[in-house]
């Protein structure tokens, strides 16, 4: 006798209990603290903040811990939390020219005012597994020792107010001028996406877009799918103050400091019907230290500017804003992709019935054709 499957609720609870056990792993080992994640997995924290669109290291660390290191799951936790937060207002635009840089490089000039600052980069490391790290014991230090070791803070102080490289080109009129605007940009998280989208909206979508997806698109432009000849005019990573106007006070106050990565590309451009030959720009700005993402974003941004610069649409994916904007969000993508795990037996049943019916009719048709073939010629006439 068939009894309809019951007990979905108990099954879900049991699965969740199992999940929480697996998340913790072997309990003879100490649990990860949020501080450890923030300090030692800081680039992971940065990615979760960037694609989660929420700058909060502690929440990002919690999300990473809760998601067992599944970063898209962690980003999802951040996004879902973010939407429940009341919106008190908007900050003033940050001034990346006033950034305290920990890294600042230009590929277009050998040297420039402010200098090349390599900072904490993987560049030029030999990618050899460092087995010392595996064997390493606790290299913890005391608070006093920590206080004497505040070297990197001094570096901050030295590296403020570094001019943007592209401004030097701008003075000579060699690079396209970005028109300054005080218009409040649209907000992707408050208004449904409408096309064509403004550049501000495109950049919003890209900065919270999936790193892998944006990287892949940027790479495709380098390989010839709407190639835009990008040089890294400048890449800078550092800290910026966030200010907010308080109407009651009549002035703005500092509400905090965020780490960001900014990339400006300088792109070759031979000119078009609309624009004279000059360099053009792509722009990337991402929370935290995420230079792969910032550079990718700048390349894709530049590719999507074809219309404004009077270039041809060559049908490349990175030029196609509808394609890019509708598919770059990994939370939308993973949700829809994974939803095919949900039961679909009702639709499947209707497909089954349809296939059976079509097959039956097709087979009957074939049979009829066959018996017709077998008939003597006279009868057919």
């Amino acid at each position: 006798m068939y009894v309809a499957v019951k007990g979905g609720e108990r099954a879900i609870d049991a699965a969740h209990d199992w999940l929480s056990e697996e998340r913790r792993g072997d309990r003879r080992l100490p649990a990860l603290s949020l501080d450890q994640i923030i300090e030692q997995l800081s680039l992971t924290v940065a990615r979760v903040m960037a694609e989660g669109s929420l700058y909060d290291q502690e929440l990002a660390a919690l999300a990473i811990k809760q998601s067992r290191g599944d970063l898209i799951e962690a980003i999802f936790l951040m996004r879902a939390y973010r939407t429940t937060l009341p919106r008190f207002g908007y900050s003033n635009p940050i001034d990346t020219g006033k950034m305290s840089c920990i890294r600042r490089i230009s590929a277009t000039f050998k040297d420039a005012p402010g200098g090349q600052i390599l900072g904490p980069t993987f560049d030029y490391t030999h990618r050899l597994l460092d087995f010392k790290l595996a064997a390493e014991g606790d290299d913890k230090i005391s608070d006093d020792e920590y206080d004497t070791l505040k070297v990197h803070h001094e570096v901050h102080e030295q590296s403020k107010d570094i001019p943007h490289i592209t401004e030097f080109l701008n003075k000579d009129g060699l690079i396209q001028t970005e028109v300054e605007s005080d218009t409040t940009p649209d907000d992707l998280t408050r208004e449904p996406l409408e096309l064509p989208a403004s550049r501000a909206l495109r950049l919003q979508a890209l900065t919270r877009g999936d790193e892998g997806f944006v990287l892949g698109l940027a790479y495709s432009t380098q390989r010839g799918y709407a190639r835009n000849h990008a040089f890294v005019g400048e890449l800078r990573i550092g800290y910026c103050d966030v200010e907010m106007d308080i109407p009651e006070l009549g002035f703005s106050i500092d509400i905090g400091e965020i780490q960001i990565t900014e990339c400006e590309t300088v792109n070759q451009f031979k000119g078009s019907k609309k624009e004279p030959p000059q360099f053009t720009r792509g722009y990337g700005l991402v929370f935290g230290q995420s230079e792969r993402k910032a550079i990718s974003m700048a390349l894709v941004d530049r590719a999507m500017r074809w219309k404004e610069l009077g270039e041809d649409f060559v049908g490349a994916p990175a030029q196609d804003e509808e394609f890019v904007l509708y598919h770059c969000d990994n939370i939308q993508a993973t949700g829809f992709l994974e939803h095919i795990k949900l039961p679909h037996y009702v639709d499947f049943q209707s497909e089954l019935e349809l296939i059976r019916k079509i097959r039956k009719e097709a087979l009957a048709h074939q049979e009829a054709a066959k018996s017709e073939d077998n008939q003597p010629l006279e009868a057919a006439e």
């Binding site: 309809a4 998280t189 039961p343 009702v346 639709d347 049943q349 209707s350 097709a362």
Partner: protein
């Protein structure tokens, strides 16, 4: 429950959704863009339906959630629990007791009344999407009432298969104007869409809400010589004997043995409670005595 607002969403978000619902009702079948929020469940798992339900629910509501016609499927359980926790509403499996029903892929067998609201979870709200992937193009087609592409597709089906090869998400024309996707319900359910209850459709990821007011003309697309045909598996429910309901096929042994049962579990149970017994069912009082 004090951490979150009543029915989870903040009031500003609910107002935005409510305004979209009202415009949807004023323009039946037209997809109203709305600024869908990230919900604590994944896109594609009913976030649109959940947002519409959250904007509609009142504390005195009785909520029913079904997936594939069943109250006990895992995602239905999960969504029901979400509203039990965040809106503190009473829930039920009985269609007739519910004031608001959120559904995925089915319309209940029992006729709905004027006092009920049916909220559909919609994955792809655009009926033309698989014919034209660009939103900028499909929006123009709706504006111009240019549905030729859809008819061409249906006609090609007929010339190739002798019939229209769409068995679910079967498009309808609403009040003679907008072609609408009814969500992936089997086409068996299409004729029920002219009903007494308010029907609301929420697509979270795609940021669209649309609606069909009660007693609105909802005509499944077809051709004069190939009229629309609601389709279901041949046979009766093995448990309650119904021959007029949508049936699920269940594989019961390793040899591919199968039986058909009602997809609407509540409808099936209430029939059995009323004494209907199918070929492989047992009268309900006996089952109760046995357990």
């Amino acid at each position: 429950m004090s951490e979150y607002n009543f029915a989870y969403l903040d009031e500003q978000t609910k107002r935005m959704i409510r305004r979209a619902i009202l415009k949807g009702l004023a323009i039946p079948g037209y997809q109203v863009p709305f600024a869908s929020r990230e919900m604590p469940m994944p896109y594609g798992w009913g976030t649109g339906g959940v947002q519409v339900s959250a904007a509609c629910l009142m504390p005195e509501d009785v909520l029913k959630v079904i997936d594939q016609g069943a109250d006990d499927t895992t995602n239905a359980v999960s969504i029901r629990k979400f509203f039990e926790k965040t809106a503190n509403v009473e829930t039920t499996a009985a269609t007739s007791e519910a004031t608001l029903i959120q559904t995925r892929h089915r319309i209940p067998e029992e006729d709905l009344t004027e006092d009920q609201i049916l909220v559909y979870q919609v994955p792809i709200p655009e009926p033309l999407r698989f014919l034209e992937p660009r939103e900028t193009e499909t929006r123009k087609m709706h504006a111009l009432e240019e549905y030729g592409l859809m008819y061409v597709k249906l006609y090609e089906d007929i010339s190739q298969h002798g019939q229209i090869a769409t068995s679910y998400s079967y498009p309808l024309k609403i009040e003679g104007r907008y072609v609408m996707d009814p969500s992936p319900i089997p086409k068996f359910d299409n004729p029920k869409m002219e009903m007494s209850a308010i029907q609301l459709f929420g697509a979270g990821r795609e940021q669209r809400i649309y609606a069909v007011p009660p007693y609105t003309k909802a005509v499944s697309l077809d051709f004069e010589d190939y009229p629309f045909e609601a389709m279901k598996a041949e046979g009766c429910c093995a448990l309650c004997g119904a021959d007029h309901t949508y049936l699920d096929e269940v594989i019961i042994d390793d040899d591919g043995g199968r039986m058909f049962v009602c997809s609407d579990t509540d409808y099936c149970e209430s029939r059995r409670a009323a004494g209907h017994v199918g070929a492989q069912g047992t009268p309900q009082n006996q089952e109760a005595a046995a357990s």
